[in-house]
Amino acid sequence: MLANTKKYLVAGVGIAIVIAIAASFTSYLGQFEQLQQQDSGTTIYHDEVAVGKGSPLLGMETARVTIIEMGDYQCEMCKRWYDNTRPKIIENFVNTGKASLVFLDLPILGPDSKLAAEATYCAEDQGRFWDYHGMLYDFQGHMNSGWANIDRLNSFAFNLDLDMEKFNECMSSDKYEMRVKYNAQKAKSVGNSTPTFLLINTSGDQERIVGAQPYPVFERVIESLL
């Protein structure tokens, strides 16, 4: 009798666990599908990579070439590119209306990478995505050393004069957790290392650049796509 009760109890707990896993997985897929539907309506790029849930566009919408950067805020090579190559691209191609830039999260280097990516979207809610993005690279520390933990992310927001109540609420609710996961999945379809760049022109011609390559490489590729 006791053995039978024990069996039923074990079976019941097992079924409950399976149902709980299935429910959470269904909810996860539901949220993911929702993002995909929203994205297919907003993305302006062809099927190669959907960036509608990535960063806001830096530059003019009419730019002939779009540079999509797949990056991680903890990646030192991304910082190397940010410090050395990006300023010249901004000056010569983005500011002149020839190219625009989009950042797509590929947070592969640890939990702080995901948190930092979520924080940029919380800053975007207040119209400061690119400022926050820049601050993360300017103050990048050693990988997974705590430089991008929640306290530091809050202090970056504070230094940018963001509304801290809104920012904290956004971060504590994990509002953008799914968006970051979604972007990571899209970015992985292009490359599995950071930084990876996909340069696409309005005719659909494209070129992929892997790594923190120097400005002359980007200059040559952009010129060929213009």
Partner: protein, 163 residues
């Protein structure tokens, strides 16, 4: 043991062109992959070599490490052939492996593969190798210098005995 004898052992090994060739091939075989993973050298879309002020030191370490590994390994090959003793070969391999793995696990495909394959442990290993890239490379250079000096010393002793 004076410096003259130690230098004699260097001259002894590298007077034979095949050891110069082995040394050069090992150095190049290490320098190219290390430059690739450290993103100093790119093969696509164009073959480009890039060096920024903040990466000069790291690049110099790669260069020193590659040359030292070439010299030390070829000297040990000479030594193994001479006295059939592989004892010191291990030290040079350890030094080379430490130097080669330092910094190789950053954001590139190797780092991502390590993290994907080994999860949290991979992430910790990758962070360690990336964050301590410079000290690890210095350590490996130290090991290689030590192995080089002991090899030079033992070669000069063994040569004297043989003579």
């Amino acid at each position: 043991m004076n410096h003259c004898c130690k230098l004699y052992s260097l001259k002894l090994v590298f007077s034979n062109f095949s050891y110069v060739l082995i040394s050069g091939l090992i150095a190049l075989g290490l320098f190219i992959p290390l430059s690739l993973v450290s993103e100093h050298l790119f093969l696509e879309p164009y073959i480009v070599f890039s060096l920024y002020p903040e990466t000069v030191f790291s690049f110099s370490l790669i260069l020193v490490l590659s040359i030292l590994a070439g010299v030390v390994v070829s000297m040990n090959v000479f030594r193994v052939k001479l006295i059939k003793n592989t004892k010191k070969m291990g030290g040079s391999l350890i030094g080379t492996i430490i130097g080669a793995s330092a910094g190789a696990c950053s954001c590139g495909p190797i780092g991502v593969s390590v993290i994907t394959s080994f999860g949290t442990a991979g992430s910790i290993a990758s962070s360690f190798l990336t964050n301590y890239e410079i000290p690890l490379r210095l350590l490996s250079i130290g090991i290689l210098i030590l192995v080089l000096l002991t090899t030079m010393k033992s070669l000069s002793v063994e040569c004297k005995i043989n003579q």
